[in-house]
């Protein structure tokens, strides 16, 4: 009972503090080049306060319900993702036997929610952003599916706690060297961050959120940030041994590994240009999807050999 409450508390804390950590880390990663100047620590809070004081604007005949609901749904999906992250063998909000599958469904449903955000504004640029995500989302999800089956094979289970336990002898990042790089691409796509930010991109003046202001925009940004944290925690679980590690308590290891993945994603976001949609499709289907097959075959052969 106490552990259930503690795990729910962990999810709540990450939901509340995660966006701030993302904003600070993003500024720290960007600041050495001066690309995102301003107060690193207070900047995210003052920006959030500004968005809270700003009017949530209207467009001409939007789908109000869907427009208001989509940030909340994206946030809810991120919360579901966080709920299946095991912070220790017992500290986990929902230790489903199919938690790996549940995470896969989060990735699939994100496509619907992101489309909803762009479509419901009833404006041109958000609509293009929405369609773009739908066009590309399938390729991210397919790669993710093969990579996740790869990490489930040595565990002989679709449960994240078993996936972590199976890494006691060797972390998946070493056992399946293609897995983590491929999964990071999925993460950038799922959260439409940095080089794979094609839904909310500069060429669409903000894409699905081009017409959003005030608290609605803040909610959308918070949801994106929490999804980034949730993805990083899942990546740490799937490839970096989750709670496994010497000296420190398990939850601290999960936290440190999550922060490391998060920092890497944010760094990639600042160092790589946005990939052109047409090249992105080619890259996904011609290069990365076959690589994910190779990753799966590799994982299967190792599992048989073991």
């Amino acid at each position: 009972m106490i552990e259930s409450l503690a795990s729910l508390l962990m999810v709540t804390v990450v939901l509340v503090l995660g966006p701030y950590v993302v904003a600070v880390l993003d500024r720290l990663v960007a600041t050495p080049t001066g690309a995102m100047a301003g107060d690193v620590w207070l900047g995210p809070l003052s920006r959030a306060a500004w968005l809270l004081t700003q009017q949530a604007n209207a467009t001409e005949a939007p789908d109000w319900q869907a427009w208001r609901l989509s940030p909340a749904l994206y946030l809810a999906l991120a919360a579901v993702g966080l709920a299946v992250v095991p912070w220790s063998p017992t500290l986990i909000a929902t230790d489903l036997v199919t938690s790996v599958v549940l995470w896969g469904s989060v990735e699939a449903l994100a496509t619907v929610v992101i489309f909803l955000q762009g479509w419901s504004a009833n404006a041109v640029l958000p609509l293009i952003g929405a369609y773009r995500y739908v066009a590309l989302g399938l390729s991210y999800i397919l790669i993710s599916m093969f990579v996740l089956i790869g990490v489930a094979l040595p565990a002989e289970s679709l449960q994240w706690t078993q996936v972590v336990t199976a890494q006691e002898s060797l972390w998946n990042v070493i056992r399946q060297p293609l897995g983590l790089p491929l999964f990071l691409v999925v993460g950038l796509g799922l959260t439409f961050w940095g080089p794979l930010n094609l839904a909310d991109s500069t060429d669409l003046a903000g894409g699905t959120s081009a017409e959003v202001s005030g608290p609605s925009r803040l909610a959308w940004e918070l949801a994106r940030a929490v999804m980034l944290v949730a993805f990083s925690a899942i990546a740490a679980t799937a490839f970096l041994g989750g709670w496994l590690g010497p000296w420190l308590p398990g939850p601290v290891w999960v936290l440190l590994k999550t922060l490391a993945v998060l920092a890497l994603l944010l760094w990639l976001g600042h160092r790589l240009p946005r990939v052109a949609p047409e090249r992105c499709v080619t890259l996904m289907w011609v290069v990365l999807l076959p690589l994910s097959f190779v990753d799966l075959i590799w994982a299967g052969v190792l599992a048989l050999w073991a």
């Binding site: 900047g43 004081t53 700003q54 009017q55 991109s201 060429d203 790589l272 052109a276």
Partner: protein
């Protein structure tokens, strides 16, 4: 009434500014881009302050009014170097450039603290075209098809697909005149099929650009080649900044605009070029799609023409440049990638020329004709090239089209030079 802690906190945020350029000014853009207190945004919905620089021609003022009303409250309009449009209530006017950042910060702060009223709306809050109420579904026509609900055509296909034969519903809309990814003033009627541009019809040309005064002075009397070449390099660096911002490479964009502001003859481009190469932008961005043919490229002149293989540069006729061993650089492909490489090559060449000329204190020998960063200016100023987009954009995906536009300098050269920044 006591100001809430939320508003106190909001007043400390960076000022989100949506700039509208009546008179474009590279130095001012650089100042805004480099300020730690200001954030330039791409959507009016994301701004707290609408900054209008220079006079807005009468033909574009309706567009400005519509843009003005898109900013969410509380917001303010700040006017620099131009008079506010008549109907605007309580505008903020700035006389000197050096007051700009301070005024933007103060205005934002006053808005947040409730010390300044939000700017009033200029237009009635109603659809631009009334709802027709005709047809089975109120779509303005008969049966399932036809009609112009809200004055706009239905999103239904009337044209064949240009790309792969997969016909989708087409969507027609007006873009501009202050869409941040287009040159200011450029307005077009665009039809998309999916994200492929089916047609692009330019309805209003880009506003002319005001060049550095040295290019105007060079037509009157000999000027220092070092100063002329540094001004040219600055111009190309700001162009590069815009293209890099569009590509999502903010840190390299920041580096480019920062270099433009501290540029001297001893500056080096190597760091910036290295960052660009490492980022993989030439492989990841859509830069190889469309080739500008010789005719279109010669119409634009300048780096765009040289990137398409035309060895045209008025500097070759100047005895002082000849004494420096000047030979114009050129590429052959005429693609977006070639124009980026041309910019980088010409910036490096300008820095080399500036170093050599500074050593010998060389001045231009020819007057009356000058090679501006936009193209040759002999008898006539470089003319607007906006209409060229009607030919080159159909068939391109949106991202590729925007990347292509950012690689072209389409604006005509104005008869007056840029004002010296205070």
């Amino acid at each position: 009434m006591a100001v809430s802690w939320l508003r106190q906190l909001a007043a400390r945020s960076r000022v989100p500014v949506f700039p509208v350029w009546g008179w474009h000014d590279d130095a001012l853009l650089a100042r805004l881009a480099l300020s730690s207190q200001v954030e330039l945004v791409d959507s009016p919905r994301h701004a707290s302050v609408l900054l209008v620089i220079g006079e807005i021609p009468a033909a574009l003022r309706d567009g400005l009014r519509r843009l003005h009303d898109q900013l969410p409250a509380p917001f303010a309009a700040v006017w620099l170097r131009g008079a506010p449009i008549v109907a605007l209530g309580a505008p903020v006017q700035i006389a000197r450039d050096d007051q700009l950042i301070e005024t933007l910060v103060r205005t934002h702060r006053e808005l947040m603290l409730g010390q300044r009223e939000s700017a009033p709306r200029l237009l009635p809050d109603e659809p631009p075209n009334p709802w027709k109420g005709l047809g089975d579904d109120g779509h303005g026509g008969e049966g399932m098809m036809g009609g112009n609900p809200y004055g706009r055509p239905m999103a239904m296909n009337m044209q064949n697909d240009l790309r792969d034969g997969l016909t989708l519903d087409s969507l027609t809309f007006r873009l501009g005149p202050f869409f941040p990814l287009l040159p200011a003033g450029l307005c077009a009627e665009v039809t998309l099929q999916g994200d492929v541009i089916q047609s692009w019809e330019t309805r209003h040309a880009a506003l002319p650009q005001r060049l550095d005064p040295i290019f105007h002075a060079a037509r009157q009397h000999p000027v220092s080649i070092a100063d002329l070449e540094l001004a040219r390099a600055r111009h190309h660096l700001v162009q590069l900044y815009r293209a890099l911002h569009l590509a999502g490479l903010e840190h390299v964009a920041h580096q480019a605009v920062s270099l433009s502001q501290r540029l001297t003859s001893s500056s080096r481009l190597d760091g910036l070029r290295r960052q660009l190469m490492r980022s993989g932008i030439f492989r990841l961005a859509a830069m190889d799609g469309v080739q500008l043919d010789g005719e279109l490229a010669s119409h634009l002149g300048g780096p765009a023409a040289r990137a398409a293989g035309l060895e045209v540069d008025l500097r070759t006729n100047d005895a002082s440049y000849q004494s420096l061993g000047f030979r114009p650089q050129y590429r052959t492909a005429g693609t977006t990638r070639a124009r980026w490489e041309q910019w980088l090559g010409e910036i490096k060449q300008s820095l080399q020329l500036a170093r050599q000329a500074e050593r010998d204190n060389l001045h231009t020998a020819n007057t009356g004709a000058v090679e501006t960063p936009r193209g040759p200016w002999a008898d006539e100023r470089p003319a607007d090239g906006s209409a060229l987009l009607d030919e080159v954009l159909p068939g391109l995906e949106w991202d590729e089209a925007m990347t292509l536009i950012a690689s072209l300098d389409l604006r005509a050269v104005a008869d007056a030079p840029r004002e010296a920044s205070a």
